[in-house]
C-alpha cells in the first residue's frame, strides 16, 4: 500500500516534470534489465549489447533530435557503468549546438561528463560556449558556464575570458555566482591568465546576493592561502559579513538546521584564520565576532559542531587571546565529556605506538609524551623513556632522551627518592651524555634536600643515596660523570648517618680510583671525598687510620703529572696533620650549601698593605702595565689593550721587569696564611658567572684569555693537554667557553678538574643543544621549573640558582686552600677575573677600544701564564683578583698590591649573617695565619 502511494506520487511528479518524458521502450528495457542484472558479467553483457545497438543507430542519418537526446543519455549511462562510449562523443558535441534549451543542456551535460579539458573535440565546443555565454537566456548562459568551467583549458581561457568577466555583472544572481566560480576555476587552471582580474572577486564580495557573496569566498580563500598579506585590508569586511551572518541577517533560505548560513560561516572562519594568524592587529578585529559565534554555537547538531570546530581552528591559528582560547578549550573538552571513550581510544593508540617496532613512530610518541607529562604521569613516562634510552644505540638521540628525562624529573619529581633513583638510572646508562649541570643539580639536591625544615627526611634521603651509590659502585663500568657524583656524595655524606665506617667508604673510594686509572677528574673527586671524610673524622675527634691502599693512592697522586691531583694529595696530607679544631673550620660538616660572602674590595687589608709598603715591599702594578709585555703575540688583543689602556690610564707606568726570585716564596706563604678564605670566594664567582653568565662583562675577557693562553702555550708548561686542543677554536662563542675552560684548567688548578671538565662538557652539550635544538623544550617549560624552587632557591633567592650548585665545591675549595698552597693560588684570583668577560665585549674589542676590565684581565692572564718566571713580579704585586672585579676604584690598585701577603681573607660568610663571617674571619686568623711580612719563612718551613 505504501508503495502504491509512492508510486502515485511518482506518477504525479512524472507528469509535473514532464520535460524528460518520451524515452523509448528500449531505454526502459535497458534500465530495467540492468537493474535486474544479478552479476557484473550479466550487466556487462547487457551494456555491450546496448552499446552495439547505439553505435549502429546513432550513426544513422536523420536521427530525430529527441531520439538523439535519448541516445546521448543512454551513452552517458553506459559510460557511467564503465563502458567506452567514445564513438558518441561527437554527437554530444553536436547536440550542444542545438537551439533547444533542453537539448543544449543535455549536450553540455554529456560533454562535461565525457571529455577532458584536453580532448581534441574541445576546440569544436569553444566556439559554442563563446556564443552561448552571450545568450539572452540565462539558463543557456549557466549551462555554458558549467561547461566552460569543466572544459576550458589554459590555452582556451583567453577565448572566453572577456565574456565571463562581463557576466560578473549579469542581472541574474545565478549567473553572477557561476561566473565568479568559473573565473575561480580559470585561476586554478592558470593563475597568470586571470591575475589582472582578481580585483573582481573583491567587488563581488559586496554583491547584494548572499549566494554570490558566498561563492566569492571560495576564490578568495584560495587567493588568501597563496598570499595573505595583500588581503589584510579585507579583514574588517569579512568580520562584518560574519557578524551579519551570525546575527541572522541573511535570508531564511540560508538557515540550515537552525543555524544561520553555517556553510558561509565556516568559509569565513577559515579565511579569518588565515588572515589572523600571527597578526595581532588583524586578530584584534576578529576576537569579538569569534566570541559571539562561540556563544551562539550549539553543539547539538552536526553542523553546529562543524562551525564550532572551525571556530576552534580559527582561535588556535590567530594571535592568541586568552579568553577565546579558554572558550575553545572548554568546548573541546565538552567532546571528551560527552564520551570519555573517545580520549581513551587515543591513549591506547599512543601506548600501541610505544610498542611499535617502527623507530620513528616511537620517537614521535616520546615527543608527545614529553609534552603531556604532568606530575601525575611523570613516573610512568620517565620510566618508559629510560627503558627506551637503554635500548637504543644512537648517541645523539640518547642524549636527547636523557636530557628530557632529567628535565621532566627535575620538574615533576614526586619525591626526592624517586628523583635520585631516576637520576641514577640516567647516569648509569647515559652518564657521559648528560649535561654536567645535571650532575651538579643532583649533588645540590642531595645536599639541600627539599629545602624544608625536615632534617630527618633530608638525612634519610642522603643515606638512601649513599646506599644506592655504594651498591652501584659494584658495577664494572660507570660513566665518569656519575662517578664524580658518587664520589662527591660519598665524601659529603658517606659517614653522616654512621652506618658505614670511614675506612669502608675510603676503601670504596680508593677502589674507584683504581678502577678508573686514566680519569683524572674522577680521581680528583675521589681524593677530595677522602679528604672530606678524613676531615669529618678528625673533627669528630676520632683517629683516622690510613688504609694502605689509601696511603698508596696519596703517594701516587702526589707524584702525579696532574698538578691538580698533586695538589689535592698534598692538601690531604697537610690536612691530616692539622688538629681537629682547624680541620673543622677548614671542612665543616655538611656545609656545602652554606653561603659565603665575600668582601671584594679587600678593604680590611688596607692596613696590611700599608704596613708592607712601609717595610719596603713593592707597590702594586696594575695588570695593564704588566700585560703590555706579554700580550705581544696576539695582535688584536694588543690593540685592544692599547686602546683600553688609554682610556683607563693617562699616565704611563714603568714596565716592570721580572723581579727577583726571593719573592716567590712570599706569595705562597701569603696564600697559605690567608687560609681557606680567598679560595672559596674565587670559586664562587667563577662558577657563578660561568654558569649563569649573569655578568656579561665578565665573559668577554675570558674569551680573550682563551686566545692568549693558547698562544702563549701555557698548557704544556702546566701539563694539561686538554686545554691546548680546545683552545684552537675560533668562533667567538666557542672562544668564550674555551676561555673559561682554559682559565679553569690553567689557573685554577687548586680547584681544578671539577671546573675544567665541566666547562668542556658543557661546551659539548651546548653545541649539541644548539645543533639539535634539544634545549628548545626547556625554555618553554622554564616557568614551571620554578615549582621545584624550594629545593633550588629558597635560601639563595638573592643569588643566581646556579651558584648554589657550585657551593658544594666551595667547601672543597676551602679544604684545598688550607694546605701549603703555592703558585696556584695566583691562578685562583685570576679565575675570578675571567668570568668577568663578555662575548659582546670581545667582539667590540675586535672592532674598537675595549673597556677596561677585559684588558685588565688579559694582562693578568698573560702574566699568569708566565707565572714561573714572573713569580717575582707577583711577590709584591700579588694576584689582583679582586681588583679586576672592582675595577674602577682608584685606591684598589694600591690595596691590591699587597693583597697576597695580606690575608686575602675576605670576610667569608656562612649564611647571610654578617656576624658569622666575622667569626670565620676570626677563626681563620686564630688558626695560625697571621699575615705578616715574615710569611715567606713560613712557607719555606712548610716546603722544607
Amino acid at each position: 500500500m505504501e508503495q502504491l502511494k509512492t508510486i502515485g506520487r511518482e506518477l504525479a511528479m512524472g507528469s509535473q516534470g514532464g520535460g524528460w518524458t518520451g524515452q523509448s521502450k528500449e531505454f526502459l528495457d535497458l534500465v530495467k534489465s540492468i537493474g535486474e542484472a544479478r552479476s557484473k558479467a550479466e550487466e556487462d553483457r547487457i551494456i555491450l549489447r546496448e552499446i552495439e545497438s547505439l553505435r549502429r543507430r546513432i550513426a544513422e542519418p536523420d536521427v530525430p533530435r529527441r531520439r538523439m537526446k535519448e541516445y546521448i543519455i543512454r551513452l552517458v549511462y553506459a559510460e557511467m557503468l564503465g563502458h567506452d562510449a567514445s564513438f558518441g562523443y561527437i554527437h554530444a558535441v553536436k547536440m550542444t549546438h542545438d537551439d533547444s534549451l533542453s537539448l543544449k543542456r543535455t549536450g553540455y551535460l554529456a560533454v562535461t561528463l565525457f571529455l577532458s579539458d584536453d580532448h581534441d573535440l574541445i576546440i569544436l565546443i569553444v566556439n559554442t560556449i563563446q556564443k552561448d555565454l552571450r545568450s539572452d537566456n540565462y539558463l543557456i548562459v549557466c549551462a555554458a558556464l558549467t561547461a566552460a568551467c569543466k572544459l576550458i583549458n589554459e590555452e582556451t581561457i583567453p577565448a572566453v575570458l572577456p565574456q565571463v568577466v562581463d557576466l560578473l555583472a549579469h542581472p541574474k544572481e545565478a549567473v553572477r555566482k557561476k561566473a565568479v566560480m568559473a573565473l575561480h576555476r580559470f585561476y586554478q587552471r592558470s593563475p597568470a591568465s586571470v591575475s589582472h582580474l582578481i580585483s573582481n572577486f573583491r567587488k563581488r564580495l559586496c554583491d547584494n546576493d548572499p549566494g554570490v557573496m558566498g561563492a566569492t569566498l571560495c576564490p578568495l580563500f584560495d587567493l588568501i592561502t597563496a598570499d595573505v598579506n595583500s588581503y589584510k585590508d579585507l579583514v574588517i569586511s569579512f568580520v562584518s559579513i560574519l557578524k551579519q551572518v551570525a546575527e541572522r541577517r541573511l535570508p531564511k533560505a540560508y538557515d540550515y538546521h537552525q543555524m544561520a548560513a553555517p556553510f558561509i560561516q565556516i568559509k569565513l572562519l577559515k579565511i579569518l584564520a588565515l588572515l589572523g594568524s600571527g597578526d595581532k592587529q588583524a586578530s584584534g578585529h576578529i576576537y569579538n565576532v569569534l566570541g559571539d559565534i562561540f556563544r551562539k554555537c550549539e553543539s547539538s547538531s552536526n553542523i553546529g559542531n562543524a562551525v564550532l570546530y572551525e571556530c576552534i581552528c580559527c582561535v588556535s591559528s590567530i594571535y592568541p587571546n586568552a579568553k577565546l582560547l579558554d572558550a575553545a578549550a572548554e568546548s573541546t573538552s565538552k567532546l571528551i565529556k560527552i564520551n570519555p571513550d573517545v580520549a581513551e581510544e587515543h591513549q591506547l593508540a599512543v601506548i600501541d605506538c610505544l610498542e611499535d617496532p617502527d623507530d620513528t613512530l616511537k620517537r614521535k610518541t616520546f615527543e608527545l609524551l614529553y609534552k603531556m607529562t604532568k606530575s601525575t604521569n611523570v613516573e610512568v613516562i620517565v620510566d618508559r623513556m629510560i627503558d627506551y634510552m637503554i635500548s637504543i644505540n644512537d648517541n645523539h638521540y640518547k642524549t636527547e632522551i636523557a636530557s628530557r628525562c632529567v628535565e621532566l624529573a627535575e620538574q615533576f619529581a614526586p619525591s626526592n627518592q624517586w628523583f635520585i633513583q631516576t637520576m641514577n638510572k640516567v647516569f648509569e646508562h647515559a652518564g657521559d651524555l648528560v649535561n654536567v649541570r645535571v650532575a651538579h643539580n643532583l649533588m645540590r639536591l642531595i645536599a639541600e634536600g627539599f629545602g624544608e625544615d625536615d632534617e630527618g627526611a633530608d638525612s634519610q634521603l642522603r643515606s638512601s643515596a649513599v646506599n644506592s651509590y655504594l651498591r652501584i659502585l659494584g658495577e664494572p663500568k660507570l660513566p665518569s660523570l656519575f662517578l664524580q657524583v658518587i664520589c662527591w656524595v660519598l665524601g659529603e655524606y658517606g659517614t653522616a648517618d654512621g652506618k658505614y665506617s670511614a675506612s669502608y667508604i675510603i676503601g670504596k673510594l680508593c677502589d674507584v680510583t683504581e678502577a678508573h686509572l686514566c680519569n683524572d677528574t674522577v680521581k680528583a673527586y675521589a681524593i677530595s671525598a677522602i679528604m672530606k671524610i678524613c676531615a669529618f673524622e678528625i673533627a669528630a675527634g676520632r683517629k683516622v687510620e690510613m688504609l694502605p691502599e689509601c696511603q698508596s693512592l696519596i703517594d701516587e697522586l702526589s707524584a702525579s703529572h696532574s698538578t691538580d691531583l698533586q695538589q689535592r694529595a698534598y692538601e690531604l696530607q697537610a690536612l691530616l696533620c692539622l688538629h681537629s679544631q682547624a680541620v673543622e673550620s677548614v671542612i665543616p660538616l655538611d656545609a656545602s650549601c652554606e653561603d659565603i660572602e665575600v668582601d671584594r674590595n679587600l678593604s680590611f687589608l688596607d692596613s696590611f698593605v700599608q704596613q708592607s709598603i712601609e717595610k719596603g715591599a713593592r707597590p702594586y702594578i696594575p695588570e695593564i702595565e704588566r700585560s703590555g709585555m706579554f700580550s705581544v703575540s696576539n695582535y688584536t688583543s694588543q690593540h685592544q689593550h692599547e686602546t683600553s689602556s688609554h682610556t683607563l690610564r693617562f699616565e704611563a707606568y714603568e714596565l716592570p721587569k721580572p723581579s727577583p726570585t726571593p719573592a716567590a716564596p712570599q706569595i705562597s706563604v701569603s696564600t697559605r696564611t690567608t687560609d681557606l678564605v680567598p679560595v672559596p670566594e674565587t670559586t664562587y664567582y667563577t662558577e657563578n658567572n660561568q654558569a649563569s653568565k649573569l655578568q656579561p662583562v665578565l665573559d668577554a675577557s675570558s674569551a680573550d684569555h682563551g686566545i692568549k693562553l693558547h698562544l702563549v702555550g701555557v698548557q704544556k708548561k702546566w701539563g694539561r693537554p686538554t686545554y691546548s686542543a680546545s683552545s684552537s677554536t675560533t668562533s667567538s662563542s666557542e672562544k668564550k667557553t674555551n676561555g673559561v675552560t682554559h682559565l679553569d684548567g690553567v689557573s685554577l688548578q687548586s680547584q681544578g678538574t671539577l671546573y675544567d671538565s665541566k666547562g668542556q662538557q658543557s661546551e659539548k652539550q651546548k653545541l649539541a643543544a644548539s645543533l639539535f635544538g634539544a634545549s628548545a623544550g626547556k625554555t618553554e617549560k622554564k616557568p614551571t621549573s620554578t615549582q621545584r624552587a624550594p629545593k633550588a632557591n629558597t635560601a639563595t633567592a638573592e643569588r643566581p640558582g646556579v651558584a648554589r650548585a657550585v657551593s658544594p665545591e666551595i667547601s672543597k675549595q676551602k679544604a684545598a686552600s688550607s694546605p701549603p698552597p703555592d703558585l696556584l693560588d695566583l691562578g685562583e684570583p685570576i679565575s675570578t677575573t675571567t668570568p668577568t668577560i663578555d662575548p659582546f665585549e670581545q667582539l667590540e674589542g675586535l672592532i674598537g677600544p675595549t673597556p677596561g676590565p677585559s684588558t685588565l684581565d688579559n694582562s693578568v692572564t698573560t702574566s699568569e701564564q708566565k707565572a714561573p718566571d714572573l713569580m717575582a713580579l707577583y711577590t709584591d704585586t700579588p694576584p689582583s683578583s679582586s681588583s679586576s672585579i672592582s675595577s674602577g676604584l682608584g685606591d684598589l690598585h694600591s690595596a691590591d698590591k699587597n693583597s697576597p701577603m695580606a690575608k686575602n681573607v675576605p670576610s667569608i660568610k656562612k649564611g647571610p649573617n654578617p656576624q658569622d663571617s666575622l667569626q670565620k674571619d676570626a677563626t681563620a686568623r686564630h688558626v695560625g695565619v697571621t699575615p705578616t711580612g715574615n710569611n715567606p719563612n713560613l712557607f719555606r718551613d712548610l716546603l722544607g
Binding site: E10, L11, G35, L81, C218, F221, A253, Y256, P262, A306
Partner: protein, 214 residues
C-alpha cells in the same frame, strides 16, 4: 575543493558519478570500486570520514600522465595533491551511499552536511527521500507493480539528468556554490520549467504545453 561526488547503491553499482577533475571512464570505475571496497567494509557505528589518500591521492594524476602536453600541469598539481590530505565522507541512506571526496581545504563536518543538503534537495525534488531509493532500485516496484514501471523508468532517465542539474547547482567546478536547498530547488524548478516550455514549443502540441506552462 570537492574532487568527486559518487552515488552508488549498496551493491557497489554506480548511480551517479561526478568527478571534478577529469577521469577517464576506466579510472572512474576503478575509483568507484575502491571506494566501495572501503565503504562496504565499514560497520555502521564508525565515523563517516575516511582518509582516502590511498585511493585518490597520487594515483589520480598518474592516470593523466599519458597526456604528454599536460604533463607539466599535472606534475604541478600532483605536488599539490601530495601534500593535501584527501578525505571522503559518506552517508548511508537506505540502499544508497552518497560519497563526497574532498581535500583538506574543506571542513569535514560541513561536507557531511552538504550531503544532507543534497539529499534534502533531492528529497524535495522527488517528494520523498525513500523514493530516491525507489528511483534507483526499481526492482521492487517492477516486481510489485508491473503497470507503473514505465513511469519509473521514465523517472530514472529524467532523475538521472535532474540529479546532475541539482548537483551542478550545489557544487560548481569543485567548489560549493549554493548551500540553501530552497534556492537550489528554485533554480532547478526554473530550469525545468523553461526547458519544458522551450521543448514544448518544439515538440509538444500547444494545448499540452499550455497546460505544462502553468
Amino acid at each position: 575543493m570537492i574532487r568527486a561526488v559518487i552515488v552508488m547503491n549498496t551493491q557497489g553499482k554506480p548511480r551517479l558519478l561526478k568527478f571534478y577533475e577529469f577521469q577517464p571512464p576506466e579510472k572512474q570505475q576503478e575509483l568507484t570500486r575502491s571506494v566501495f571496497a572501503v565503504l562496504s567494509g565499514r560497520p555502521d557505528n564508525v565515523s563517516n570520514f575516511v582518509e582516502a589518500d590511498a585511493i585518490f591521492g597520487p594515483v589520480i594524476f598518474s592516470s593523466l600522465l599519458f597526456v604528454s602536453f599536460v604533463a607539466e600541469i599535472t606534475k604541478k598539481k600532483k605536488q599539490e595533491e601530495f601534500k593535501e590530505g584527501t578525505r571522503l565522507v559518506y552517508k548511508h541512506l537506505a540502499t544508497l551511499y552518497f560519497v563526497f571526496v574532498f581535500d583538506s581545504c574543506e571542513n569535514e563536518l560541513a561536507m557531511l552536511d552538504l550531503i544532507q543538503v543534497l539529499v534534502e534537495t533531492l528529497d524535495r525534488c522527488f517528494k520523498n527521500v525513500c523514493e530516491l531509493d525507489i528511483v534507483f532500485n526499481f526492482n521492487k516496484i517492477y516486481n510489485n507493480q508491473m503497470k507503473t514501471t514505465v513511469f519509473m523508468y521514465v523517472e530514472l532517465g529524467s532523475s538521472y539528468v535532474q540529479m546532475h542539474t541539482i548537483l551542478d547547482e550545489i557544487i560548481f567546478g569543485g567548489q560549493v556554490l549554493e548551500t540553501s536547498s530552497e534556492r537550489v530547488l528554485k533554480a532547478v524548478e526554473e530550469i525545468s520549467r523553461l526547458e519544458k516550455s522551450s521543448s514544448s514549443v518544439s515538440f509538444v502540441p500547444k494545448s499540452v504545453s499550455g497546460r505544462f506552462g502553468r
